[in-house]
Each structure stands twice: as C-alpha cells, then as structure tokens.
Amino acid sequence: MENIKTVKVKVNGREIEVPSNYTVLEAARAAKVNIPTLCYLKDINEIGACRVCLTEVTGARGMVAACVYPVAEGMEIKTNTEKVRNARKLNLELVLSNHDMRCLSCSRSTTCELQTLCNEYGIQAGTFLNDNAKEVKHPIDDSSVAIIRDNNKCVLCRRCVAACATLQEIGVIGPNDRGYDTHIGSAYEMKLADTACVNCGQCIIYCPTAALYERDDTQKVFDAISDPTKHVAICCAPSVRATLGEAFGLAPGTDVEGKMVSAVRSLGFDAVYNMNLTADMTIVEEATELIDRIQNGGKLPMITSCSPGWIKYCEHYFPEFTENLSSCKSPQQMFGAIYKTYWAKKNNIDPKDIFFVSVIPCTAKKFEVGRENQSASGYPDVDVAITTRELASMITKVGIDFVNLEDEEFDAPFAMATGAGEIFGATGGVMEAALRTAAELILGGKFEKTDFEEVRGTDGIKHGRYKVGDLDVKVAVCSGTANAKKLLRAIEAGEDDSVFVEVMCCPGGCVNGGGQPYQPAVVRNNVNLPAVRASVLYGADSDNELRKSHENPALKLIYDEYLGEFGSEKAHHILHTSYVKRGLYKNIK
C-alpha cells in the first residue's frame, strides 16, 4: 500500500483522498456519488465514447468522460451542475432519436440499462426527429439458431465488440462504416449464421439493450406442456441454481436449487431432473477415455467436450485439434440420450412422445441440440434448450412467486448427484471432478486428494501436476476462447505438455455463460461475478457427502441396468459423438 500515492480531490465540494491511479468515476464512487455509465467496462472497454458519464472537472475544457479521466491533486469534480444534468439529458435524447423505442414489447424492458438511464434522467422522447420510430431501419439478423441481432436497439456502446473481439478474441462482430452510418455488423454485412460465431452469448450478457438477445424458445416448451400426448421432462444444469435467483432480484451468489425445482414443477413438467447426474456420467466416461488414451497411445492431450461454444470454436478455429476432443457428449445431451433410451424403454414410453427440455446457462446449447450425431434414440436427444433467462421469463409469465417458494427436490431416480457434478459450472470444475475419478480408476482404489485447489479460481489459464501411482499427470484448465487460443498455440508449439485439458468457452465457465441473468455493467465492473456465483457450487460440493462421480448410486444403477461398464460399447453408442471441421467463412470459396 505504501507505494500507491494518493491525491486529494473534491467531489461535489466534499474532500476525499483516493489513490492517484483512480479515474474520476472511481473517485466519485469512493465519495458515494454515482456517475452513470453505459459504454464503460473495466479493462475491456475503456473507450470513453458514449459520453453518458460526462462530468465537470477543474482544468479541463468542456466536460470529461469520468470513466476514463484520471484524477489529479486538487481536482474538483462536479456531477451536480446544470451543465452536467443538461448534457446527460441531451445525450440520452439524442440516443433515443436514433432508437427503436418499443419498450413495451422489448425483451430487455426492466433489465435494460438504457431504459434505466432514461427513467432516471426524465428523458422526453420526441425532442428530436426520430428516424427509427416508424420504420425498421436495420433488418433484424435472426439467421443464427442462438443469437439474434437487432441494430435498431443498438446504442453503439461497443460492449459486444469488447466481449467478442477483445475478451474472446473471436471478433465476428464489430463496428462497420463511419459517421451516422456506423453500425455493428459482420464482415461484408454477412449474416451471423454465416460467420464463425460460436454462440457463446458473451456479447448478449454485455449488451446493455435488446440489440442482442437469444432466440426465444419458451413457446415451444409451453406448447409441449399443453400437448397431452407428450411426456415433457426437464433437467437443470449445475450452474442454473447458482444464478436463477438473480433474475428475481436476489443477490448474486444465492443458491436457489430448491425453489428452482419447485418453480419448474409448477410450470407443468412431467418430470424435473438434476443434470448433475449426467455431469457425473460425463466424468466417468471422460476419465475412462482419458485412461484409455494414456495407456493405449491415443491422441493427447485429451480436451474436454462439454462446452458446445468451445466445440464450435475448436471446429472453426483449430480444426486440427478436433481429434483431441473427448468424444463424450455434454451432460445435457447425455441426459436426453439416456432418457430417450434407457428410461423410455424401462417405462415403456415411445421416445417419439418424449419432449426433453434442458435449462442451461448457455446460448451455445441451442446450437448443440441440432448437431449431427446427437440422436441416440433416433430422435434428437434434447428437443429444446432454454437459458436461465428464458426459464425465469417462463416462471414470471405463469405468475409464480419465485422468491417465496418452498424448497422442493428433484424427481427420482435422477435426483442424486455428487459434489463433483455440482462444480461443473465453474472453470476448473470438470477437471477437478475428472481428476477425482480418474485417479481412483487408475489406482483401482482410494486417492488421498479430493480438493484440487490448483485448478480452482477465475484465472484464465491454470495448471496442475499430480502424481497418481507412478503416473505423472499434467493438466491444464482454461476458460474463455482467448485463453483457449493461447493454450492451444502453446500445445502446438510444444511448450505445454499437459495430457488432459479442460476448456470452457465462457470466461469463468458456465456460471458466466451467455444465457445467465443480465447484470448491469456497474455490477460487472465492481463484482467478480464468476467467482461469486461459483462459490455456490463449491459450497454445495463440500456440503455433499458424495464427492466423486463414480460413487453416484443413481449412476451406478444406470450402468448396472443398462450401459454395463464405464466406456462400454453401448455407452459409446449412446453417450459419445463426433465432430466436424468447419471453415471460417461459410459462403466463400
């Protein structure tokens, strides 16, 4: 602390001492004064472009963008002047003059940061001519099965670009043209489905408005529920319970598993299951595959395959690595596959009558359900994947008082899960779970270690090295495609000799997935959201008596009754899949 110098500044007349590397925004915050922001994302979008945070400071001409303007000794910061108030108002009025203001029918209404700002500053629409009010100025791009772009609601804050190009280093969307024609688009105005977008949805969770959103599949689910001929089952992914509460105003980091089960049951599903079970199943299959590859000279490193965003990324950007991918389906697909085969047979239900829904933190899973080689029963393993947000909207729509619900439990026999399955939703979770199982499978007995701290935490790339018997197991974990790129390049260059690698497409893992509840930038800038959400999962893990996937009794039952051995031929037929090599640009020679 000694090294960081401090300066004295005045915020609206009150003196305060702050570190000299603070911005005006941070200094004001320290003085309990809020300055609104729109484009600012700490570290990844510090462009000072939206001008929503304009503030008067001594020594500067005009007004300054508080989000990027550094403090200086003796600076007087004024946020409460006529000039500042007028500027903020005029700025928003101008933005609205170029905005499709149909809040009433907008998916972001009440979570929209622009709407919030306009409410706070008492904006009057119609001060200026609006060239977006009558006609649809930009065509809506709904080519993608997962991500929809509506530039009519775009305020050009470029947060999506920061997510896609800076954070993920994918960059399939960005600013095109200039001046009044500037807009977000893809190269040559291609449709998103024709680009190498991986459907991670990071752009969506960073977008302050409804210019980016996921395809809404909730009506398909409601329709199925209303259809008396259908058996409609749903399974809930590990990280949804760690975040769903946020959509109902609960603080990040609140575990709502019991309420979630209760709410989903009230929606009218015939069965409500815990996807943690198939997370365990993924682990035993993956651990078996890993051991097989190590012992029989298979392709190494083996890389996890449960993140469909990552899979698509690998297929587009690193096709030479597709053989490194574990052939295991993701937990979501495994669940649907087992349900429509084993469970259907056992209960005499025709798989064609089963409508299987999964609720996941992920927009990429909407693409995954339609992939080839994902129909073990002859019917798609999963019919519809809805995001945490979509589930929240369904719950709201039918009038369930979520926060006051009593806890309920998943339906048997797919309720049982281990702690290993719980932590799937955090970066490093799959690795830790897999290590717990792999170690014991290799040793054929107990391994002393259950907590693999080295692979926990929200660092982008993590390494671990474990001695299992006489085996030296080197592993690497990364989240976010930018880190994946870095890691794969190191592997290519022979600088990284891990045998097992976990990759999660979203920075921080599924707890920060593209389908998770919206949190405004002010929360994202000040809270380590992935870490807070992940703490729910690690808590549940340590509270669980069963910590290892292969100890899951429900899992054992399925293998005993149906699949046979871990990694059996039948298991392969039902629980494994294949990959394709994709080019970067669909329609170019």
Partner: protein, 630 residues
C-alpha cells in the same frame, strides 16, 4: 554519393551546387524553373515543360540552359508558370503558358535574349524588360520562411536543398546543442502549432522529452484534411527535405529514433517526392543510422492516409498508423506520455516542422520578432502563416504572411480583392472546424487569439473568400454535411448531434424553418462542443454558430420570409419572366426540361411555378435578360 560526416563535407556540396541556383555572372547560363506541383500539372505544365525540353535539345543548349521542375510557385491563378533566371541576376515570370506561347518565349527570350513582356506576370519596369513575381503586390507583403525553397529549387535534388543551407541546422543541433537547448530555442521562438490549435511547439517537445521511455516516436501530420487548404502539399512537393531535417531535430530533442509521416493518399506527387527525398538523405547519411557520424540514429517511414478527415486528429492519426479504424482515443493520456503504439510520441503539423530548421539556424529572437506580442487575449503568435487563398478572390494561391497582418490587407493587397465587381461577404477560415469572418471584422489582425475571440479559428490555413452570391446558410450546411460524413461515429453528440443539426438546416433551407429552430441549433451546438470526445465534434458546430452570429438576418430571411437573399437555396427560389423584356422568342420554352414554360411566339412567356424544378436552364437560354430569379 559519399556519406557526409562533417560540416566541411556539407559545405563542399553547397559550394558545388549553389552556382546552379544563383548563376554566377560570368557563367553565361540560364535557369528555367517550371512550376510542377499538382496544380501546375493540372493546369497544363506538362506540355510546357516538354516544349522547353524539346527546344533546348533542338537548339543544342543543354550546357547553357538548365531546365528544372520545381514545386509550387504559389500563384495558382497564373498556372502554368515558368520563371527564367539569367546570370545577370534577372528573373522573369511567365504566366498562363501553353506549349505554343512557350515556343515563342524560348525563341525570343532564351535564344534571342529579349523577354516577351505580354506573357509576363506584371507590368514591365522601365529599366528592365522582365517582370518577376517578386515585383508584384501579391508577393510584396509576403515573407517566405516556410515556402523559402518552394518554386526555387528542384525538390528531387537534395544538393539544391543543401546549397540553400539545408541540413546545417541538424548538424548544429547534433554537434553543438543538448536536447534541452533545442526545446528551449523552440519555446523561446514562440512557434505555435500550425495544425490548427496553436499549441506551443517547444512545450509539446518538452513534455515528450520529460517522458520516460526507451522508445519514442516523432510524427508529422501531413493529412491536410481541411478541404480548401493545400500548403502542406505545396511544401512536400516543393521542399520535402525541410520536413525530414526538422523531424530529425525533433527526434534528437525528445530522444526518439523512429518517425512517421502520415500523408494524404490523394497527394501522389508529394508522396513520390518525399520518398525520393528520404532515399537521398539516407544516401548522404543525413538520415538513418549514425547521422553525420555522430552516432545518432533516426529512421523515417511514410504512411498514407485513406480518406478520413478525422485522421488529422492526433490520436486518430496514431490509431490509423497502428493499422486500425481511425477512431480518436480519449485524452489524457496525452500522446507525449502514451502515443503511437503506446509510447511517448510527438505529432506536429507539416508547416510547423517547416519552420524548425530556420529557427535553429537564425535563432529564437529572429523568429519571435515577427508577429504579435502577448496580450490579454493570449500569448501572441510569432512567425508567419501560410494561407491557401481560394474562392471568390482575384489571386488564388499560396501566400505566406507575417502573423499580425490584417485580414483586409491579405484579401485586398495580396489577394487582389473580390473579382467581377462583387461585394465581399465573408471569409471562411479554419475549414470545417473554423468560422466565418464577416466584412465587419475584416480588419482583424491575423493571429491565433484574435481569430478565436471573433469566433473563428486559425485552422490549418484554408482561407476561402465568399461574395454576395454565396448563401451563408448554405455554407454552414455544407460544412456540417462534411462533418456528419467524416465523424468517426464513436460518440453520440457528434455522430447523432451533427446529423440532427443538419436536419434542422435542411428544414430551414427547404423553407420549413421556424424561429425556434435557431434556438435548437444553438443548444445542440453548445452541447456538441462540450460533450464530444475529440476535436472534430468539439469544433463541428463552429461554422453554424459563426454564421448564426454574423448572418442571423440571412437565417431569418430563410425562416420568416422564406427567401434566400443570395438566390442559392433552390426551394426558396422562383424564376420569373419579365413580360416587359420578353420578346417571345421561345428559346426558354424549348430549353425547359419539364415543360414549365408556356407562351405563344412573339408573346411574353410565363413560367408555371408548380411545374418548375428550378434548374435555371431557361435563364441561361434567354438572350434578352428577361428571366430572373427571386
């Protein structure tokens, strides 16, 4: 080419080539200098040059007559131009030449020794047959520092630059001065940035000098985006080494070893000559590694702009050199701390650099003796400023005048006033960021602070004169249209705000304006100036504000009377046939593209207002002056 490592060696080059420029009396030689800047070639200097070459060859005069393609002579009005220097010290300026006239001049003047006075620039004086540019009113008020070599030397020949004391300043700097001495001289000279804002150059260099870092950059802004300004091009085409030398001096001062010159891609001739100059300087060891054998290194690279006005803004220029969309970055951090590729960088305008070597050689006092002194309005402005005189003025061209010269003198004495007996209405200065100076302010003494105080701005030096036929609302709209298109599109005040202002002006020009639109324009303008991220947005409303300030009547005429007093705005025009003057010749009727005119032969015709699209064809067609616009 031998590498030059000493002053003696440099002087030897000078001694060898000075005779080419200042012909010794006994040499019997003649030097013909043809203006071959872009504008000269555009006006037809090529055929003139070729003719001269042909004649020299034909007459076997190769040994006696040197033919030089020079840069800008500064008198666009008279292009194509060539000047004949005799070894008797005479100088004759031939103007508006073509191949035929050239042959005639060659025969008479070069071969026969008799100047052809009908083709020279001015009246021939009594004791001499010849008339030179230097004798004209146009020239007399000027003081040429930046343009000292333009139109004189061969810009593709480094030896001629050296002959005119080129590369002496960098030698002095490297061998006699510490970096602090250099910045001090610059500061004392009072030189302010010629790119527009007038920031003291010495202070800028001091900041960068104080910045820590192993790597620093020196950049030159030759993007010259102001439509109507062309002095940077003229210097590049006429005296490229001046820039190279100055940037090397700057590099020494701040501790840099690499620089970039960012040039408009629309200047192919300038780019070519600059590249030649860089190669030649490297050949002599005056640029590159171990300059003058002192161990000092400086490498210089060219980067071409790609047609974006905003890239003249310093941070946008740097993002552009970095190979990205030319979007400005917020400041601070300032470039002197964190500039190109994230390291300390200075950026100066090309004209700023063109002053540097002279200041080093002649001293700060010499420079600061010219211009205005500090006053309550500001710090004063020293030296000269080059203006590109254009628009409704008799002598268009490049002029370099001492700071503090009244605008009226520039317009009337240097520029020869407004042609065709029309009335001066306003001068637009500073381009799209600047403002207009109305007749009432025409005596303003040109300096940064004075211009600022009357709502205009120096800008880069475009000076466009407008007469009674120009509509000021239309002009304001013109500039705004420019900035709307050129805005980088990052921030809402500029991206959306200027568009909304443009819509308000369009509404006024279409005859649908209301008085409250003027207030709206004012409010928006004030907000855009205060709220925009970069200088483009911060100055974009200036042309509107200054025209509202000085020509409010004209706005009101558009809004209230629905008339355009200058008869420019089409929607407010009406073409009328005067029945008294019309003889019914039917010419107009036949020329109207939309059949808006009716009338029988030999009877007065009439225009149907509702059909007329105001193309003006009928008015051009009528030989009897019967049609007028209102």
């Amino acid at each position: 080419m031998a590498v030059i490592t000493s002053l003696d060696a440099l002087n030897a080059v000078k001694a060898k080539y000075i005779g080419d420029i200042e012909l010794p009396a006994d040499s019997g030689k003649t030097r013909i200098v043809v203006g071959r800047a872009t504008c000269g070639d555009a006006a037809g200097a090529g055929p003139v040059f070729d003719q001269l070459k042909k004649d020299i060859d034909a007459k076997g005069l190769k040994e006696k007559v040197d033919l030089i393609a020079t840069g800008c002579v500064g008198i666009c009005q008279y292009e194509p131009v060539f000047e004949v220097y005799g070894c008797d010290g005479s100088r004759t300026t031939y103007v508006n030449m073509d191949a035929e006239k050239t042959a005639e001049v060659f025969e008479s003047h070069i071969v026969g020794g008799k100047a052809v006075s009908k083709y020279t620039i001015g009246p021939v004086s009594e004791d001499s047959e010849a008339a030179a540019l230097t004798d004209t009113e146009f020239y007399k008020l000027q003081r040429r520092i930046v343009l000292r070599n333009c139109g004189i030397i061969d810009p593709e020949k480094i030896e001629e630059y050296i002959a005119r004391d080129g590369y002496k300043a960098i030698f002095k700097v490297l061998t006699e001065m510490k970096p602090e001495d250099v910045t001090k001289v610059m500061l004392d000279s009072g030189l302010r940035g010629r790119g527009g804002a007038g920031f003291p150059t010495g202070r800028k260099w001091q900041f960068a000098q104080a910045s820590k870092g192993d790597k620093k950059y020196v950049c030159c802004n030759a993007d010259e985006g102001d439509p109507g300004a062309f002095m940077d091009r003229a210097v590049l085409e006429g005296d490229p080494h001046a820039v190279i030398e100055a940037m090397t001096i700057a590099a020494y001062a701040i501790g840099s070893d690499e620089g970039y010159i960012y040039v408009r891609a629309e200047y192919p001739v300038a780019i070519k000559r600059l590249q030649i100059a860089i190669d030649q300087a490297k050949g002599y060891g005056l640029l590159g590694d171990n300059i003058f054998g002192t161990g000092f290194n400086f490498d210089l690279k060219l980067r071409l702009g790609a047609g974006a006005f905003v890239c003249g803004e310093e941070t946008a220029l740097m993002t552009s050199i970095e190979g990205k969309r030319g979007e400005p970055r917020p400041r601070p951090p300032f470039p002197a701390v964190k500039g190109l590729f994230g390291v300390p960088t200075i950026l100066n305008n090309l004209e700023t650099y063109a002053n540097v070597a002279q200041i080093i050689l002649k001293g700060a006092e010499w420079f600061s003796a010219m211009g205005t002194k500090p006053s309550d309005k500001g710090m004063g402005s020293t030296g000269t400023k080059v203006f590109a005189l254009g628009g409704k003025i008799s002598h268009t061209g490049l002029v370099e005048i001492p700071m503090g010269t009244p605008l009226s003198k520039v317009l009337n004495e240097v520029g020869g006033g407004v042609p065709d007996g029309k009335k001066f209405k306003a001068a637009q200065i500073g381009g799209p960021s600047g403002g207009c100076i109305p007749a009432s302010q025409v005596d303003v003494e040109i300096d940064y602070d004075n211009l600022m105080s009357i709502g205009a701005m120096m800008g880069s030096g475009g000076l466009i004169v407008m007469d009674e036929d120009n509509c000021m609302v239309d002009i304001a709209r013109y500039f705004l249209d420019f900035t709307v298109d050129e805005s980088c599109g990052q921030c809402p005040p500029c991206r959306i705000g200027t568009q909304r202002m443009l819509e308000l002006l369009d509404k006024i020009i279409a005859g649908n304006g209301e008085m409250e639109d003027l207030d709206k324009l004012n409010d928006l303008a004030g907000y855009i100036k205060d709220a925009s991220l970069c200088g483009l947005g911060q100055t974009a409303p200036n042309p509107v504000l200054s025209t509202i300030r000085y020509f409010r009547d004209e706005y009101i005429a558009h809004i209230v009377d629905k008339k355009c007093p200058a008869h420019v705005c089409k929607d407010l025009l009406e073409f009328v046939i005067d029945p008294e003057k019309c003889i019914g010749c039917t010419l107009c009727k036949r020329s109207c593209p939309v059949n808006a005119i009716s009338g029988e032969t030999k009877k007065p015709h009439v225009i149907d207002r509702d059909k007329c699209i105001k193309c003006g064809a009928c008015m051009t067609a009528c030989r009897f002056g019967a049609i007028s616009k209102h």
